[in-house]
């Protein structure tokens, strides 16, 4: 069975500071990793996926199979980045989520 671990529950950063959300996974097959985001009063939505290798809203994430990690990074946090972030792994025909990180960007 797959497992996704997000160690920090709450992350507070000042505007303009870097943000890094950690995600580690365990899965016996070839993983497909995602980051989903939920802004206040909005639906959960896809932020990015590892196979796209693209930057979305300034965020990037690199899959490191050796460390079984898929950390989310942004060099300069903005107030609009305040949200709940979930790392997720697709395997065995299902998407398994971590427990999420609440990010608060302080003006």
């Amino acid at each position: 069975a797959q497992r996704v671990t997000q160690p920090e529950k709450l992350l507070s950063v000042f505007k303009g500071a870097p943000v890094e959300l950690k995600c580690n996974y365990s899965y016996s097959g070839s993983p497909e990793l995602f980051w989903y985001v939920q802004y206040s009063r909005q639906r959960l939505q896809l932020l990015l996926r590892h196979i796209s290798r693209e930057s979305i809203k300034g965020f990037t994430a690199d899959l490191n199979k050796g460390e079984t990690s898929f950390h989310l990074k942004k060099p300069f946090a903005q107030e609009e980045d305040s949200a709940m972030y979930y790392c997720a792994l697709y395997g065995n025909n299902r998407l398994a989520f971590g427990k999420g990180n609440q990010v608060v960007v302080i003006p």
Binding site: N93, L95, A96
Partner: protein, 111 residues
């Protein structure tokens, strides 16, 4: 744009009542999912479905059942609601790209 519509945003039920949560998607997706979302626990998969009349248990199926009689509709049923089923319930669907599109959620309170 894929739309996933959950019929009820807020429900309040009493312990022992039967509860139906309805979900409809309009993009002909094969796969549909029900999760519950709880603070500190993230999203946990209850049931999912590959196709009409097909269903698979997720990680926490106890106390729940599902129905998928039509491709676009996936219903979650609580046969006898209990207080520990108070939660936010999220429905999602996906086509072939393993990307889930979520509904707005149904917040259920069981008294």
């Amino acid at each position: 744009d894929v739309k996933v519509t959950q019929s009820s945003r807020y429900l309040v039920k009493r312990t022992g009542e039967k509860v139906f949560l309805e979900c409809v998607q309009d993009m002909d997706h094969e796969n549909m999912f029900w999760y519950r979302q709880d603070p500190g626990l993230g999203l946990r998969l209850i049931y999912f479905s590959y196709d009409v009349k097909m269903k698979e248990k997720g990680d926490i199926p106890e106390g729940y059942s599902v129905s998928r009689e039509k491709k676009e509709r996936f219903s979650l049923i609580l046969e006898s609601a209990s207080t520990n089923q108070t939660s936010m319930y999220l429905c999602a669907s996906s086509g072939g790209a393993n990307v889930l599109t979520f509904g707005a959620g149904s917040r259920l309170t069981v008294l």
